[in-house]
């Protein structure tokens, strides 16, 4: 019959749609808020975890940038037979002749010398500290500075004076320098003249007690034989090289050959900033656990939303019946309850993103990091909330749509 063919259900306009979908939220506010809370907590956890790790990465990268990425470290490697190789005495001077190299500093590790708070400390308690002879320009090359006191100078480098790295000072129990303070180093007293700030690019300096090359030669017998047969200062074991930023790669390539032309294979060259950058990238691996917890919270939130929606459908039977009597199709009822669940989850998701972002901003601010909230964090939070709403709302919505109008109108 043609009259029947003309009967096409009226479409709800978007304004009506929004009003109908939000009926449940507007009439049962506390319930809506509580069930949105579950989703909000899950999304907040995820956004905060991703935001904080990104911000801390950004902080680390900014730190690396500040310290410079143009530091190259040359260390003595191993010989073919597996023994520790020595760098030639002339290596620092040779490297300094490479054109783009702007600064060369070196340290020489005194391998059999230990440092103690006092002679009363048992010999085995070395605290994993090393004693290094250091050149006078070490601080500017590795990018650190003195926290207290002063660094070695031309005078103190010849005397039994020592400067402690940040970790070394801590492990020896020295947090303050006073006049005449001394430590037991290599079987004699050395006077502490300074404590360094942490050297991020050269962490080995942190756990070292630094003395002058001349002092090492004079008091601790750290010597080597020069080409002309005379006894002179000990060999360097680490050389810190700063190069022009654009030429770091080129310098890197020739560094081994320059440092030890006879046995370039016995030289290790590394770029500490590259390792740090890799570490910053790897930091995300720790987030797995927290993201998992966030996902569990989201799951619980989804169950809450599904639960509330099922109860809502039961409670609102007469509303469903009335709407069917007013001419709503099954599809329109289904859409109404599905959109209500999505709206509920979206509400929770939005609050969660805001809370997670706020937590990130506050924490990053206290740490002086740049605030970074990755797009995938907030977009993912909102998207997962919508998805959760859709999944959680599907079953209740289908139930509501399946309810026959006569059953729905039957008052219990």
């Amino acid at each position: 019959m043609t009259a029947g063919a003309l009967l096409i259900p009226g479409r709800l306009r978007s304004g009506d749609m929004a009003r109908v979908a939000s009926v449940g939220l507007r009439t049962r506010r506390l319930r809506a808020a509580l069930s949105a809370l579950g989703i909000a907590i899950g999304v907040a956890a995820i956004v905060a975890v991703l935001g904080l790790s990104s911000s801390s990465q950004a902080g680390l990268l900014a730190e690396i940038d500040r310290l410079g990425t143009n530091l190259l470290t040359v260390t003595n490697g191993q010989t073919l037979t597996g023994q520790t190789a020595n760098l030639p005495l002339t290596a620092p001077a040779m490297i300094a002749r490479i054109n783009p190299v702007t600064e060369v500093a070196n340290t020489g590790e005194l391998s059999n010398v230990n440092v103690f708070r006092s002679p009363l400390i048992p010999q085995v308690n070395t605290n994993a500290l090393s004693v290094q002879a250091a050149s006078l320009n070490l601080l500017s090359a590795v990018g650190t500075s003195v926290a207290q006191g002063s660094y070695l100078n031309a005078a103190t480098a010849t005397e039994p004076a020592v400067v402690l790295g940040a970790a070394a000072a801590q492990r020896l129990g020295i947090d303050h320098i006073y006049r005449g303070e001394r430590i037991w180093l290599g079987g004699m007293w050395f006077y502490v003249t300074g404590i360094l700030k942490p050297a991020v690019l050269a962490p080995e300096v942190d756990s070292s007690a630094l003395i002058g090359y001349t002092a090492a030669k004079r008091y601790l017998n750290y010597t080597s034989t020069a080409a002309d047969g005379t006894t002179t200062q000990g060999p360097p074991t680490s050389i810190y090289v700063r190069a022009t930023n654009s030429q770091v790669g080129a310098v890197d390539n020739v560094l081994a050959d320059t440092a030890n032309p006879e046995n370039p294979g016995e030289v290790d060259v590394s770029q500490p900033s590259a390792a740090l950058t890799a570490r910053a990238d790897a930091q995300g691996a720790f987030n797995g656990l927290f993201l998992g917890l966030g996902a569990v919270a989201l799951l619980v939130g989804a169950v809450g939303v599904a639960n509330i929606m099922i109860i809502s459908v039961l409670e609102r039977r007469s509303e469903i019946g009335l709407r069917r009597a007013l001419g709503a199709t099954r599809g329109q009822i289904r859409t109404q309850f599905l959109s209500e669940a999505i709206l509920l989850a979206l509400l929770g998701g939005t609050i969660g993103v805001a809370a997670g972002a706020l937590a990130t901003i506050i924490y990053a601010h206290t740490k002086h990091w740049a605030v970074v909230i990755p797009t995938e964090a907030w977009a993912g939070g909102i998207t997962s909330a919508i998805l959760i709403g859709a999944i959680a709302g599907l079953l209740p919505a289908i139930r509501a749509a399946r309810l026959s109008p006569t059953d729905a109108l039957r008052t219990v």
């Binding site: 009597a325 001419g327 709503a328």
Partner: protein
């Protein structure tokens, strides 16, 4: 005629009455309708009901509980399909319609009034009435305009912005009646419209229904109350799933609408 056209005729003050009534087919035709529920053992709620209602009639379907009058209401209201027999609403055989078309038919051609009112408490009176056209594809401004007219017709023009919760039972039923009338449907189905009201208020609601009928609305009242039914033009008595009597008050013929006008 769709709801929009009806809405326009309502807006111009024209009711679907008088001269048009004679030309229009019956708004409701039931032919040998049966309805059986379940299978073990089956319940025969309707056992072959035939009924014709012309435009402009005011009919009471009266019977005790269990007589099948609620099932009859559901079948007439197209909320349920008969097991056998034909149902024509406004000339359209509902057997030929799918669920969506049936919903569209309800949206345009049938207005419901329930015993429990079923009003949305959080909405204003005006929006409650306007929701009568929510699923008929009428935009919100026009819905509100028509709702204001319908509220005027039931005597609640000054309470448009009140909440239903602040109103008495009689007023609430007036709102529900306005909601049923707002789209000028072919049939208004009232299920025990006075069932939740005291007798005095019930009288007023009945008077309102009569008045709306004289303005052209076709109204079918389902009730168990014989006193109430006797005040309407025509009474269809239902018992055990069958029509046992179809009488007209004042000895006027059941289809004698022309005589009344």
């Amino acid at each position: 005629m769709n709801a929009h056209d009806q809405a326009i005729s309502a807006a111009t003050g024209q009711s679907a009455g008088n001269s048009a009534a004679a030309a229009r087919p019956a708004v409701l035709e039931l032919h040998d309708v049966t309805k059986t529920y379940g299978s073990e053992p089956p319940v025969f709620a309707l056992r072959g009901v035939s009924l014709t209602v012309a435009p402009g009639e005011l009919v009471a379907i009266v019977g005790p509980s269990g007589s099948g009058k609620t099932t009859l209401l559901h079948v007439i209201g197209t909320l349920d399909r008969p097991t056998s027999g034909t149902v024509r609403i406004d000339g359209i055989d509902i057997a030929e319609l799918d669920d969506r078309q049936l919903a569209a038919l309800r949206a345009r051609s049938i207005g419901f009034v329930f015993q429990q009112f079923f009003l949305a408490e959080h909405q204003s009176v005006l929006d409650n009435v306007a929701d009568g056209l929510l699923y008929a594809g009428v935009d919100v401004r026009e819905r509100r305009e028509l709702a204001a007219r319908a509220l005027n017709a039931v005597g609640l023009a000054d309470r448009q912005h009140a909440r239903p919760t602040t109103m008495s039972g009689g007023q609430r039923q007036r709102i529900a009646i306005a909601r049923a009338l707002v789209g000028q449907p072919a049939i208004v189905l009232a299920d025990e419209p006075t069932g939740n009201l005291d007798s005095h208020t019930g009288e007023q609601i009945l008077e309102l229904l009569k008045e709306l009928n004289t303005q052209g609305a076709t109204i079918i009242v389902i009730t168990h109350d014989h006193d109430l039914a006797s005040q309407l033009q025509r009474q269809v008595h239902v018992r055990d799933g069958l029509i046992v009597a179809d009488t007209a008050t004042d000895a006027k013929p059941a289809t004698g609408i022309e005589d009344q006008r």
